[in-house]
């Protein structure tokens, strides 16, 4: 489902042909993703463990077939076993380091100001070592993206908005408050 504002959509490369991509997929101009209408819900419906399910619930049998499809030969199985042993060894080292060092492992950088942040990419204002850490750790903090007082004002605005609209089901369902829209510019 997409909205076209009444204009005809045509693309020079994909209008009439469906392309076979390198990964073997057939790709057509409008990717036919399922659009299942979603029931109004809560966060519990998203997490199996919050909605009374258990993580050990088995999947249908076709998932066994999926595994057998992914690994079809003895050679492949052996290669995976070898990799598994290596990965477990690496995990032993990594987890030990995390247990030892804790939150100091997570890189923190100072926001360089809007002008630099908007016009330059991250790797232009963050040093190589920190960048390497960010890529390894996968998580980072940027300090001072907006002034503290402004952030507190956003919170105040939102709380007033909730008070003015008491039918709202908790803070999770406010999508389009003005302060959220003002944040779009921050990347």
């Amino acid at each position: 489902m997409t909205i076209r504002h009444g204009k005809a959509y045509s693309s020079p490369t994909t209008a009439t042909q469906s392309l076979q991509s390198k990964s073997g997929l057939i790709v057509s101009p409008l990717r036919a993703k399922k659009r299942i209408h979603k029931e109004e819900g809560t966060i519990a419906s998203v997490f199996a463990t919050l909605s009374g399910g258990s993580l050990s619930d088995a999947l249908p049998d076709r998932f066994r077939d999926l595994k057998k499809n992914i690994v079809q030969t003895e050679l492949h199985a052996k290669a995976l076993q070898k990799a598994w042993v290596q990965i477990l060894a690496q995990l032993e080292r990594e987890t030990a380091e995390v247990i030892e060092e804790g939150e100091s492992l997570i890189p923190q950088v100072q926001y360089p100001g809007d002008k630099i942040a908007i016009n330059q990419s991250l790797d232009q204002w963050i040093d190589n070592e920190t960048l390497g850490n960010i890529k390894k750790r996968g998580t980072f903090i940027v300090k001072g993206v907006i002034p503290e007082q402004t952030a507190l004002k956003y919170k105040q605005d939102i709380q007033e908005y909730i008070l003015a609209n008491p039918r709202t089901k908790g803070a999770l369902y406010i999508y389009f408050h003005p302060s959220l829209i003002n944040l779009i510019d921050r990347d």
Partner: protein, 329 residues
């Protein structure tokens, strides 16, 4: 988002083989309307255990998504698995991340757009034991492990290991197996949840790490494959809350752009975008944002309301993508 790279579109000869849906512009952000969280002290209903967003069993079941992990799952030319070549920040040799179907089962909380980075802006001062974000702070070996985990099962249970956890976790206690349909942590239509039973080698009870204290105005970001959780307890002072706004930027891809166009029309009508549970949303709310709040060209572009600009430095791939999107505005 410039932390990511798209190897498929840097090779100019192969560009014609890519459809518009395989292109990405990481420097042109779109806005994805996401939520905010305000958590009061004593509130443990919001605690979320360790999980990864953006697809559960789809990681293996969807062909394109599975292609993202080729270095981990497939043998190289030498018949080995060279998992150390896996690059979490690559979109895939054939831009598999952009084509990956992350929601095959219509999950209530699933996100249909590709979000390489998740993040939020803090509106409070929050540290340990105050309901903050926790992460597993390393990517490559954790991802490799998570991808291979369904193919291995333990021989002896933990309770039967006289050597305790060390014996349980040792490689000798794990056997390759494809007879079990379990994909640990996955149930249909949900993201992947992890714990000491599903992913014991991650030692999550000891390794889930609080992010450092954040003040109002600070932002936290994490890669889409990072195992993360929200702390169980919020033991902070009574008047302190732990409040964040999820940051709504996503990279420009054809699919994301289609989504944003639809989102924009919902925005003008006030109901939640289709990624979110349905209902009337904010249709009747006072003070709901409107056109006057998208105050400049960047904001308007991010909502699909104004053309994206081409610059001299725009790559050929991005140029084609931008032109395809501008036609639709």
């Amino acid at each position: 988002m410039s932390l990511f790279h798209a190897p498929a579109q840097s090779n100019k000869e192969d560009l014609d083989l890519l459809s518009d849906y395989q292109l990405v512009s990481l420097s042109n952000p779109l806005s994805y309307c996401d939520r905010l969280r305000i958590r009061r002290p004593g509130d443990s209903t919001f605690a979320l255990g360790p999980h990864i967003d953006g697809g559960g069993v789809e990681r293996w079941e969807d062909d394109a998504f599975r292609g993202v992990w080729s270095n981990i799952l497939k043998m190289d030319s030498k018949g080995e698995i060279d998992w150390k070549q896996y690059d979490s920040w690559s979109l895939g040799p054939n831009s598999e991340r952009l084509e990956a179907e992350t929601d095959m089962y219509g999950g209530a909380g699933a996100c249909s757009v590709f979000r390489p980075l998740q993040g939020w802006l803090s509106m409070s001062s929050t540290g340990a034991n105050e309901g903050t974000l926790q992460v597993l702070p390393f990517l490559q070996s954790a991802t490799a492990y998570i991808i291979l985990r369904p193919f291995f099962r333990h021989i002896r249970e933990l309770k039967d290991c006289r050597g305790g956890q060390n014996e349980y976790l040792a490689a000798q206690n794990w056997l390759f197996d494809t007879d079990d349909p379990h994909f640990q942590g996955c149930t249909l239509g949900r993201n992947i949840e992890l714990d000491a039973t599903t992913h014991p080698h991650l030692r999550l009870e000891e390794t889930m790490t609080n992010i450092p204290r954040v003040e109002p105005g600070d932002c936290a970001f994490w890669h889409c494959d990072v195992v993360h959780a929200v702390e169980k307890q919020h033991c902070g002072k009574a008047e302190q809350d732990s409040s964040v706004i999820y940051i709504p930027a996503i990279p420009l891809t054809k699919y994301n752009f289609d989504y944003v166009l639809a989102q924009t029309s919902y925005f003008l009508g006030g109901t939640p975008p289709y990624d979110f549970p349905g209902g009337d949303g904010e249709k009747h709310h006072i003070g709901r944002g409107g056109m006057q709040d998208i105050f400049d060209a960047r904001g308007q572009r991010a909502m699909g309301l104004a053309d994206f600009k081409l610059q001299a430095s725009t790559s050929k791939a991005e140029r084609r993508l931008i032109e395809a999107c501008n036609i639709l505005i």
